[in-house]
Symmetry: C2
Subunit: 136 residues, 2 copies
DNA sequence: CTATTTGCAAACCCTTTGCAAAAAT
DNA sequence: ATTTTTGCAAAGGGTTTGCAAATAG
C-alpha cells in the first residue's frame, strides 16, 4: 500500500514534511534520526527537529515506521515493507535488508502454534563482524 | 560459564554491586534499567544509579548483557545464555524467552552462507498482541 | 470552518562525566 | 601498591511539550 493511503486510513494529514520523511525512509537506507533530519533539511531547510520527532512518533503508532536496535551507536529507522530481516555490520554500523525464507517462515509458524496466537511483527537481526563493504 | 569467570576473563573486578546486577539479570525477568535499579536497591540501598549505568555499559561491552528493543516503552535488559528468541507482549510489555529450533538454526546457516561470514549475534523477537497472561 | 500540524523555545527526562574516597586484586 | 570501582553532583544530549501561527481537509 502506498504512503498516502496508509496516512488516510489512519486519519493523518498529508503534509509535505511528513511525505518527505516517508520518501526518505522508502529508500531503505536505514538512517538514524539525525541523519534523517539532515536529509530532510535538504528539502525543507526550515523544518524543526521537533516536527521530525512528532511525525516519527505518529508513524510509529500506526506501525508504519519502527526503530532497529543496532546494539551499537544510535538506533536506525525503517519503514514497513514485505517481511525482511536485517544484517547489522559491527564494523561500519550499516543495516542491510535480507528476505525471509521458508526456514524462517517455518519458525514463525512453529512459534505461533506454540503460543497459540498470531505474531504481529517478527523482528530478526543478525549481527556480523564485517559486511560486504568492510571485508574489502 | 559462570559470571565470575566471565568477569575475570575480561579483567573486571568482582564487586558486590556488579554481582548483584548479574544475579538479578540471571533471573531472566528482563527488567528495564530503572526496574533493575529498584531491585538492586533492596540489597544496596545506597547504590548510585550512575554505578548501575557504568556497570551496564561495561557488561554490554563484554557481550554479557544486552538490551532488547520492545518497540514500546523502555528497552529491557537481558544476559547472555544459550541461543534464545523473545516474545514481546504488546499488551503488558512482558518479555518471554523461547528456544531456537532447527528451523531457526537453518535460517541462520542460510544467512551465513549467503553473506559468507559468521553471525556473531542473532536477535529474534516476535511481537504478539496478547501473551499467555493477558489472554486471561 | 475545524482539526491537525508546524516551528520555536523551554522543559524534561535519561545517561554520562569528573572527581575524591573506597574497594578489589 | 596499583588499578578499578563506587557514589555524588553536575553536565550533557536526545526527546517531549506548550503554544501561537500556518496548513490540510
Amino acid at each position: 500500500m502506498d504512503s498516502i493511503s496508509h496516512l488516510r486510513e489512519n486519519h493523518l494529514k498529508v503534509t509535505p514534511q511528513r511525505m518527505s520523511i516517508l520518501k526518505i525512509l522508502d529508500r531503505h537506507t536505514h538512517p538514524s534520526i539525525d541523519e534523517l533530519y539532515e536529509e530532510i533539511k535538504k528539502d525543507f531547510p526550515s523544518i524543526s527537529l521537533a516536527t521530525v520527532y512528532k511525525n516519527l512518533n505518529i508513524l510509529k503508532d500506526t506501525g508504519m515506521v519502527f526503530e532497529i536496535n543496532t546494539h551499537m551507536g544510535k538506533p536506525k529507522l525503517d519503514v514497513y515493507m514485505h517481511p525482511h530481516a536485517h544484517i547489522l555490520c559491527k564494523k561500519c554500523g550499516a543495516v542491510f535488508d535480507v528476505d525471509f525464507t521458508d526456514n524462517l517462515y517455518a519458525y514463525q509458524k512453529e512459534l505461533e502454534k506454540k503460543i497459540d496466537g498470531k505474531i504481529i511483527k517478527f523482528d530478526v537481526s543478525a549481527i556480523v563482524d564485517f559486511c560486504e563493504n568492510c571485508k574489502q
